[in-house]
Amino acid sequence: MSINNTVKVALIGNPNTGKTSLFNQLTGLKQKVGNYPGITVDKKQGFCKLNETTKAVITDLPGTYSINPTSMDETLVLDSLLNEKNDTFPDAIVVVVDIENIKRNLLLFTQIKDLRIPTILVINMVDQMDRKGIKINVPLLETQLKTKIVLASARKRIGIEQIKAAILDYKNLNTAPISNITDRIDKDYFTNLKNAFKEFPLYKSWLLITQIQEFDFLSNQQKALVLKFREDISCIKRYQHKETILRYQIINDILKESFIVDTSKASDLRGILDRILTHKIFGYVIFALILLFIFQGIFEWASYPMDLIDTAFASLSSWVKTVMPPGTFTNLIAEGIIPGIGGVIIFIPQIAILFTFISILEETGYMSRVVFLMDKIMRKFGMSGKSVIPLISGTACAIPAIMASRNINSWKERLITILVVPFTTCSARLPVYAILIALVIPNKAVFGILNLQGLTMMALYLLGFTAAIASSILLHKVLKINTKSLFVIEMPNYKIPSLKNIFYEVIEKTKAFIFGAGKIILALSIVLWFLASNGPDTFKNAEQTITSNIKNKDISTKELQKKIASYKLENSYIGHMGKTIEPIIKPMGYDWKIGIALISSFAAREVFVGALATIYNVDSDGENASTIKQRMSAEINTETGEKRFNIPTGISLLLFYAFAMQCIGTLAIVKRETNSWKWPLLQLVGMGILAYISAFLAFNILS
């Protein structure tokens, strides 16, 4: 029998309710991350087989405390539930609540319930019930809330089958609201509203008029009506407050009868941990140690798999050349595609390690303590305590980091965070730094224990953070944005992290990188290869020109081939591009070959190494597949006869890469997140000028 029925399910809940654990349990690896039309918020969807003929498409909506949005993520939840034409509009809703925070979590449930969509209530983490001294009268609570309730523990796989059964039976769910709350606010007002939008459930109409955003799915007539109701803003505000107070009253009355907590059983582990982790001295010491440990992981542990990947792809390239017939196709594979894929894969260890740490910190509840600890300090720089997470994530990749800034409610704080995140040393800079440091900084011990190369890397990291902080102070002074917004964060209970959740999170982030930035890197590698192996007439006549030039000299065939290859590169399309910009980049100490790498890394920094690899590979005789470092080290500056990558040029390049905004992926995401070209352009120009000036100064002072 084939599966031909599909139930669309929306998974909704407060943050920290174990919603993601439940999503992972229901869908397993059958997940995909897409984009909502027009915005970049990740749309997490997964499939779940309900029986032989029916499957559920489950959309994991971002965690929210209320249906009234105060951030971008939350707006999305409202949108998905109001627009019936939206392809994620659910047949059934599963609301997840945490048994320990049931009172506050139920507020969202009562709002959702009023939309008259079939709704199931999942009370999660019931395995904690005995320990916390909690007793629930489920049948009574079901009657009071007019809903189907499933007691579950997503982590312990309790209740998963019951949830599936309840979804399957969604047509029989009660869609009546819990109580007639609108009558208790202002009967006349709501009767009037009801008559204005006869086609909608009353609560939906109320939501339409209480938001500030425009709803595209409404007809022009409906839009006009909405605007008319919105005119009396003070009345709407008053009723919204009244509504919330009434909802809590209803919830309190219900829970009094069906939910009993014996507080004597509560332990104070949380209190003890809080006192240590948010202590004015130990709190910062612990946070600093954790950061140090994370960076150690990114550098030390990741270097082993990265070295392996580097060598593996180098040998794969030369192996392909030996087994395949020589020709354009083989060259495309060996010199374009394989190094291109290698250039993407090499970042996976670092991204995976960083996001493993970050998701552990978030899962345990520690991240909220960091936000609490850092908020006042970050505010001096015009940011929020919540900016700490994007700034740390930025050390892996600016793209997920900028997306992580969405939960910052204040527009100004969020904007500054977005603007300065690209200064943090992302993993795309690391291969560039690593190779330049290895080339120009001597591998010498300093003070006996420290290594000069390691110190340089450390200094570049600090430079990135310093640039981020300095520019945020500047932006804080310059940007005249007055936004009133509220900073409230939940301090969740400490939890032992779930391996499964961490695993899925890391997979998701890595996938996002491979299919986002990775695509650009691979595509550019191929374009680069093409531009380097094709060119105008002078390129096509290369063999002839060289052969006739050296007709009379005694030269080996190998030597001749080398000369031809080098002449070809110089006259290829990319050679011409490099030469065109040479006058501009010469003050910084670069030649046209570095120029080629610079051009290519305006799309993404990491392409620098790949581009040089392609350039010098094309430049060499091809038989000798030495690693990139050896090839670059052998490169000679034809004007001075010295090594091309000496200290002045090396330092100049390091500074250029530390400051310049060379990542199309980041620019695109900033444009979409800020909904304007103004900010990505500011980043591009501002960071570019800073990069040029500092590279210029470094080169001229050092040489």
């Binding site: 009234n68 009172k103 936000v371 908020d375 300090i377 900073f487």
Partner: protein
């Protein structure tokens, strides 16, 4: 002088007074800060800001500027 959450000492409890709804953001109510509800100050961040409170069964951190808007009455 009007007493607010910002005046509480660590560990001290009080009731939230009738809120002046005009200048209290909706979100705060939705997170459980309601009139008549017991509130306890759990912890204060270094530099006295933000404040970590327990209200209505939830543990929240709010900035001092917000705390100053929520008036309280002692037991």
């Amino acid at each position: 002088m009007l007493k607010t959450i910002a005046n509480l000492k660590i560990g001290e409890k009080a009731f939230i007074e009738k809120l002046c709804l005009e200048n209290i953001p909706l979100k705060l109510l939705e997170m459980g800060c309601l009139p008549g509800i017991e509130v306890q100050l759990i912890q204060v961040a270094p530099m006295q800001d933000p404040l970590y409170i327990k209200v209505n069964g939830s543990h929240l951190a709010i900035r001092k500027e917000t705390a100053e808007k929520i008036s309280i009455v002692n037991f």
